[in-house]
Amino acid sequence: MASTAQETMIINMGPQHPSTHGVLRLVLELDGEYVVSCRPVIGYLHTGIEKNTEYRTWQQGVTFVTRADYLSPFFNELGYCLAVERLLGIEAPPRAQIIRVMVCELNRIASHLLWLATTGLELGAISIMLYGWREREEILRIFEMVTGLRMNHAYIRVGGLSMDLPDGAIDKVWDFLELMPGRIAEYEELLTDNPIWRQRTVGIGVMSTEDLLALGVTGPVLRASGLARDLRKDEPYAGYETYRFTVPTRTESDCFARYQVRLEEMHQSLGIVAQCLERLEEPGPVMIEDPKLRWPAHLEVGPDGIGNSMGYVKHIMEDSMEALINHFKIVTQGFKVPAGEVYQPVESPRGELGYYVVSNGTNRPYRVHIRGPSFVNLQAVPAMIRGGLVADVIASVASLDPVMGDADR
């Protein structure tokens, strides 16, 4: 072991370490308690999502991409579906777009809550973990009611949504909107002026805007450095240009500023959800009408979960032979998408989530590439922690909010 004072020690943090947000491995070179260098190692959660989509129909691709960033599945579905819809030259009906925005913003709150809960846990604030989990559970209950599943929903489909909101969903979301501002105030009361929380986060993991941009970092981390960069404002999609909200920023660019940005974003998301609910009073279709493209089956959430609507089954089995033929053609073969390529970025809770989708004119994607914000943001870890204390590595990595499913895909 160390015979001279200059010798450094190599230590593996992870891949099995509760504070590395999944299976992230950091090879740290330490000089005592200080980090000399760091080499992140990823790939432990690579599941071949991009390759898999090439072997399935366009509509089936949704069920794969939703599993990439498993903490914000709706954003994956939205990015993919918007890309395919642009290739097709279609747009989902207005009501579908409103519901898409609503579930995405609820998902953003859920993702930030999970970030808050786990980061608190990692930095020693155990109680916030329980609070964050508690409110996230409320959102997951809404998702379960709307989509039938708590995660990996495959709710957003090419051309619209798998189904409309069930009865009572809107009331449930209103209840949540009433509950949540008080709860966010509780978190702030617990943490913002908490001396231990501040000591663990203020001035930790600081990076300049230029460095962040050079490394491709986006999302709350970039906004905490003072740049109001938000794809919902800068390159609006799904009708975001019609919603009122602001892009919160801070200038300190440390872990505390990232915490403040995320809390403020939760407030903004609540405001967007309220605007969605007002617009949802108008009924309307949630799937395009074109029978050659639309997903034919009508789904319902029953007492035992999601399943085919009995009315629809009766329609194809007893009433209309054409409907049955159309059902089998679309379900087994899918539709063809004109040849071409698009890149569709959406603002996920972690930053720019980009879908590069290439079609060669057949019923399957030729290539789907996911620009995962966690993958790109993780590159900033070595720069962020160099020269700092080992204990601050945890705070810095947590402040990036990496999800390994998104990084490894």
Partner: protein, 167 residues
């Protein structure tokens, strides 16, 4: 600048500029890539200083076979461009210049393209696999790499890839 304006502006410098669904694609020769990216970054009315993404697609029947796509963004002007370049099937592995010097974010992204497609980025500081295990043979996102079709360890069972399951 959006869509048509941007395409018209870029066509002066890059004759092969296409517009599709509001996105502008510039195709360059591999040996012009570095210069093209510098031009796009340094012209004040373009200022594509942010590299969003680099990826590739494999077209085994075409020459060039591997098509790299660089997605650039200008945060000041909020416009985007895609720069494409095609690499021939021969020699295998194909080579192209790394852009890590100009865009540090390309470090991991180029490693991923190397890992998945076997494209070698000359001048990359640390070109190793990033997602696949170190001992992996082949480059899985090439079209000639099978999806699964590997033997499982469960009683010697074999699960064919979905396109061969006769469904």
């Amino acid at each position: 600048m959006k869509g048509t304006d941007l395409a018209a502006r870029l066509r002066n410098r890059f004759p092969d500029t296409q517009e599709f669904r509001g996105e502008v694609t510039v195709t360059v020769q591999p040996h012009d890539l570095t210069e093209a990216l510098s031009y796009l970054r340094d012209e004040p009315d373009l200022s594509f200083r942010f590299l969003s993404d680099v990826t590739a697609s494999d077209w085994p029947e075409l020459v060039p076979r591997f098509w790299l796509a660089y997605h650039l963004l200008s945060i000041e002007h909020t416009h985007r461009v895609r720069v494409k370049t095609g690499l021939p099937p021969d020699p295998d592995p194909p080579h192209v210049a790394s852009v890590v010097g100009a865009y540090p974010t390309a470090d991991w992204i180029e490693r991923e393209v190397f890992d998945f497609f076997g494209v070698v980025f000359d001048g990359h500081p640390d070109l190793r696999r990033i997602e696949m295990p170190e001992g992996w043979v082949g480059h899985p996102l090439r079209k000639d790499h099978p999806l699964s079709g590997v033997n499982t360890q469960y009683k010697g069972a074999f699960i064919p890839p979905p396109d061969q399951r006769g469904l």
